[in-house]
């Protein structure tokens, strides 16, 4: 029924609350990142790029873990909602991975002296970006819903291996990229105000992700119920 389409797109009632929370958290995060957080002793104000680069990378990780969980859920129970969650999270994850790569490049130029270098973190992140872009392309190969969902779920369940590879790549060999500062054994290696700002920025970006997920899953479900 075509009348079900707008309702499905509107999604559940949580959407306006997520939109409001996202705007509020984004404004607070922006103030903290650009004004409240102190300058770094070595990098000066350039450290402020961290407050967008790290949340983008975190969201890339989170998105692909969600793709993995939703893919396993599809393979387990063939729930259409699981497939919708997987494709929505993969699409948003590709966006955040691309954003993390571009922001990393902008940060690398004034700190490393180059826009790009072939070092482990950058290579593995680029591979992760290509694999999930491939996941999205794979979905266009078949119009049969169940076959497409099963194929992509297998890829989505395996491709999550990229996440620990990307995260740990800096510890496996002598890399130019710095070692993990927060997600590591022991206390975070960051100044208190910088860490607080980073956490607020990560939370704000995660709320934005949740909002996008609600809208994108609604779109996917509407697409599958459209006549």
């Amino acid at each position: 029924m075509i009348t079900t389409y707008p309702q499905a797109v509107r999604g559940p009632r949580v959407r306006p609350y997520l939109a409001g929370a996202s705007i509020l958290a984004g404004a607070v995060a922006l103030f903290m990142a650009l004004v409240w957080s102190p300058r770094d002793a070595n990098q000066g104000d350039l450290v402020r790029i961290m407050y967008v680069h790290v949340p983008a990378a975190w969201l890339a990780y989170l998105s692909f873990v969600v793709v993995f969980l939703a893919s396993v859920a599809w393979l387990w129970g063939k729930w259409p909602l699981a497939d919708a969650i997987a494709v929505a999270s993969a699409e948003i994850g590709v966006m955040f991975t691309g954003l993390a790569l571009v922001l990393g490049s902008i940060w690398a130029k004034p700190t490393w002296g180059v826009w790009w270098t072939w070092e482990p973190r950058l290579i593995t992140t680029a591979v992760m970006f290509a694999m999930y872009a491939g996941y999205l392309l794979l979905r266009s190969l078949s119009t049969d819903f169940e076959r497409r969902a099963t194929r992509s779920a297998v890829v989505g369940a395996i491709a999550v291996l990229n996440v620990p590879i990307v995260h740990l790549s800096v510890t496996w060999m002598n890399a130019l990229h710095q070692l993990p500062s927060v997600l590591r054994p022991g206390p975070p290696a960051l100044d208190g105000r910088m860490l607080t700002t980073l956490i607020v920025c990560v939370v704000a970006m995660t709320i934005f992700y949740a909002y996008c997920m609600v809208v994108r899953v609604g779109l996917e479900r509407a697409r599958s119920t459209r006549p």
């Binding site: 797109v9 967008v52 934005f208």
Partner: protein, 31 residues
């Protein structure tokens, strides 16, 4: 804000363009 301001502006501008652009794409696809 001092040294490297153009890189900071570029980073935040790129982030804003990508995030707002994605929201617009969702809105367009919802039509």
């Amino acid at each position: 804000m001092s040294g490297g301001a153009e890189f900071i502006v570029a980073a935040y501008a790129v982030t804003a363009i990508v995030l707002v652009g994605y929201l617009v794409s969702l809105r367009v696809r919802a039509r």
